[in-house]
Subunit: 415 residues, 2 copies
């Protein structure tokens, strides 16, 4: 089965925006054994859009579009797909009711132009969209399937996984393909590869791909087999070897990111956490509290951006800041223990550094960050220098703090 992906939207053809949906869909399709033959980004123009659907239909078994299902005049995907398929559109009363109910739920009046979101291609099935106003559509046309999905990733992704993948799986029927992702936060991509390549190169099934994500490295192990058990067994035989080689550095094998991994460890141990942040400005707290249920262990956060805040909220002696500077090992340690004591929490974290672009010196360059952990495994402090711009430096600093906490909680030696 060959698939084609159409990303709809003039904005995706400007330098301002780029489409990330197509890549994500490509990965999901590979998992069910469907190959992508072409991927097109097309402007909000009726004739371009219709011709893109016609071309795709002429050469692919599966055509998936994202975007152009909104309520505005620019949203033309429904009309273009209907024209290319030679089918008509009808306004669906059930979809219309759902749309009205959605607007009512958020205390908003439905604008008249939203009504066209209830238009359904003749013979299509409606794909419900619990997270947005634009429903999707799937049309079986002979041996081909055409699927129209909304553009926002937060709406498109769950619709694809819950409603589109089962449709495709029913058609491909055959072999199973599964990927397990091993995540590592404390090594460079080349160091990981250098350590594990001699092992994974001896396997053809699973295949291994190594990818670098912001602040971490991922090993994707993809195996195929006749049953889920057989596939899992193949993956585990390689994964266990990699775990051994990387000695405690793999923090996740089930898709979870560091904030959730660390959160589960705190919850299991019934420990509460407080964080004091300077250069990361609340980003560590925001990441920790992005996890549902984090109120069970996250007590509070201090965004002590000014020196006065460090003194007043964390009880740090002004002389310490004056003598060593706010960006120093002793201040990081005092922030961690100050946060812990001021909050009456079990564990404290402190982060202070220079996120840039201004404020760097020869002694203390942009990217220099001190991280401290207090209340578990004694007191640990780490000095690191992170590359990249302000955003990357701040993200890496929170990754390093979370990894420090994870190692402390598990009793693994500090970095």
């Amino acid at each position: 089965m060959r698939a084609e992906i159409l990303a709809v939207g003039s904005e995706l053809l400007t330098p301002l925006r780029s489409d990330t949906n197509a890549l994500w869909i490509t990965e999901r399709l590979i998992e069910v054994g469907v190959e992508v033959g072409a991927r097109t980004t097309v402007a909000d123009d009726p004739s371009l859009l219709e011709s893109a659907f016609r071309t795709a239909l002429s050469r692919s078994d599966v055509v998936i579009s994202t975007g152009g299902l909104g309520p505005t005049e620019d949203d033309l995907t429904r009309e273009a797909a209907a024209a290319a398929l030679g089918r008509s559109l009808r306004r669906d009363p059930v979809v219309m009711e759902a749309l009205k109910a959605r607007f009512a739920r958020y205390l908003r009046q439905m604008a008249p132009n939203n009504e066209k979101q209830a238009d359904v291609i003749e013979g299509a099935s409606v794909l419900v969209n619990p997270r947005g106003s634009a429903p999707g559509l799937s049309v079986e046309d002979g041996d081909r399937i055409v699927v129209l999905l909304p553009g926002p990733p937060s709406e498109m992704k769950p619709m694809f996984e819950e409603q589109v993948l089962p449709l495709l799986r029913a058609r491909t029927g055959g072999a199973l393909l599964k990927t397990r992702v091993l995540k590592i936060a404390s090594m460079s991509e080349s160091d990981v590869d250098h350590t594990v390549a001699p092992l994974y190169q001896t396997f053809t099934n699973p295949r291994t791909t190594i990818l670098s994500a912001p602040g971490q490295v991922e090993l994707h192990l993809t195996a195929s087999g006749a049953s889920l058990a057989a596939v899992e067994e193949r993956i585990e035989s390689l994964a266990s070897g990699i775990r051994g080689l990387l000695a405690g550095r793999v923090f996740s094998e089930d898709g979870q990111e560091l904030p959730a991994v660390v959160g589960a460890l705190l919850r299991d141990r019934r420990l509460s956490l407080a964080a004091a942040e300077s250069c990361t400005g609340g980003l560590l707290a925001a990441r920790l509290t992005s996890v549902p249920g984090s109120s069970a262990y996250f007590e509070r956060g201090f965004v002590t951006y000014s020196n006065r805040a460090k003194v007043e909220l964390l009880g740090i002696a002004p002389e310490l800041i004056e003598a060593q500077g706010a960006v120093s090992e002793v201040v990081a340690a005092a922030m961690a223990s100050g946060a812990r004591h001021a909050a009456g929490a079990d564990v404290g974290i402190g982060i202070t550094g220079i996120a840039g672009p201004e404020g760097g010196t020869d002694d203390k360059p942009v990217g220099l960050v001190f991280l401290a952990l207090d209340g578990v495994a004694g007191t640990r402090v780490r000095r690191a220098v992170f590359p990249g711009d302000r955003e990357r430096i701040r993200h890496q600093a929170t990754q390093a703090a979370l990894e420090m906490l994870r190692r402390g909680l598990l009793g693994i030696a500090p970095l």
Copy 2:
């Protein structure tokens, strides 16, 4: 003039590689007034590739391909373009000599399969490639131009700038294209469209595209003209009308996001800010401090995730929380004024709500958020219900808080 870009190569359709050429070419084309109508990535398959060229030729004035000009069996771009144009290929003796000379220069033997790199489409001009073995081709076909370029960016980019852009500039006569983006944080996409469509529909130059980004709506106004001044004037004539219709809701026209816009207002007024956050867990502080130089106005943040933290850090009476609940109008207001006073800052913000997925009730559903502003424009409190998952709710809550602050600082009436 409308252009279409074809990126050729099966590797570009896997998750491992992505095409960066198309975006770069798009930017260059915009500068000479050529708009990209579609962008396709296509596998190394003769029939897919020929149909991609046929489709592009049927709807675009300029077709530019990158990749597939190498010496291997997978390199099929020359053949596919010739077939789509209905022209033959001939082996060019001058190109062949240049190829041989290139190999000799690097003391290498030319393999027989390299010979096909000397194949030229009937009637085409050869684009020399000083940095690689694959020459490019340009074909004038009636009013259309087809350009074939090699895939490696280091070879493609100089060829495009030195040999392709002059060709295109000669055709467009030097018209310029420019886009201005107007951002709005406090209206839905359909409400914005409903309000401004009657105006922008009376303009053909600029054209207007409306799009919805997380927590905001963007209007892209794209105008063309003979000079930069003429283009700017055309954009401004529509933009000023839109500003009027949206009455203070446009927060940015220069690419800046809300944290930077609000930061500049605080800095200009020499006001300091403190934030108290519950459901957003530090995300507002993280966004505010993502702006370089934010230490000039951001004093500190309180991530008062627990009720105890609200009482101890912000001085909120426990009875108030008990009587009204932590998610309530009075607690939001007390957080804003508590943050302001505890920090000795000029302005305080408070956010409390239910980010979910758990914790919602009939009275207080997931997505309910109270926002408060204290110290500028008196005290303002707003109740909102945001759709989506935890991440979207938290992001929208910070957007609403920033917009509330922006309106307060500018003396615009609250929402």
